[in-house]
Amino acid sequence: MVNDEGRPRDAAPSRAVTGRLIAAQERERRRIARELHDDISQRLALLAVELERLALSAPGDEAFRRCWHDLSHAAGDIATDLHRISHSLHPAKLETLGLVAALDGFCQELWCRQHLRVRFTHDNVPRALPGDVALCLYRIVQEALYNVIKHSGVLDADVHLSGAGHELLLRIADAGGGFAPVAAAAGVGLVSMHERVEAIGGSLVVHAAPGRGTRIVVKVDLELQGEDRRSE
């Protein structure tokens, strides 16, 4: 196995600058997500409700009412899809239900939509986490599992999140085709994962080799969130 920590660091922007860039990107995602949720998907839901009212009250034959009902259903489906895209852009669930529930929901969604079976386990994860830490770990899991779907050739993966003292540990593993880390180090996905984790003062290590699966391990010091990073 080869550990991947060898991406070019000389040209890397400072942690604070990267953190600000990531925060700006997340703010923009949040704005688009709100626009989709608060405006477009609500208007589509309204359309679906009005069409269903017509289906229930319109005179005429059954085929005519069925047609209104089908139109209502189609509008409702689009509204639901937009709502889902909105939550994918900015997972509001992180704020309302916390990281564990958000990850569990995401893993379920991957099963329903992509048929990836993810075994998600967790222990001793604090219910209240700093917002940027929760969002970072959520994004890492998103990216890693999309990579499993795109590149691994397998349909199973493991995600484990645990807390020990003031440290959070995230592990994402699959038994798929793996890759040569040196060749993949410059890939946008891995670079982005590294930058996100570094921006919250954590560490990320990728264990991978061709034909031997992939394991990503992230460590975050929660004490650091309250101390060093206050000044950044």
Partner: protein, 144 residues
Amino acid sequence: MSRPRVLLADAHTPLLEVFAKLLADECDVVGVVSSGLALLEAAERLRPDVAVVDIEMPLSSGLVAVRRLKQLHPDLRIVVLTMNEDPNVAAEAFRAGASGYLLKRSAASELQIAVRETMHHRSYVTPLVTEGLVGTRRRPPLDL
């Protein structure tokens, strides 16, 4: 049984108007509000039998408002009416004190039923979410 007194809470005014029309045959809509804080204030002032609540509202999460409402008014029936079809969110809504959960898209055919059921002290979950709640859509066990 007298007509239920219903309070509607949703940040989207056009939807509030349609929901009020959907309930007009069987209920008295005694108030409409657009935020979690306004919902708490209106529930105290109007003392409705049922609150129909979107859980994605500004100024206090709807789930927080549902939990607080139930603490302050244990007899109030709460129906969540939302865009969110996530079974985890539905389960959390019931833990917070809701008696009903349905999606806005199916309000025309289900809202009256949900209010009626909760007035009879029964729970109502839209079929669009039920299968996720009972686990049929959940991931199968892995044989790793």
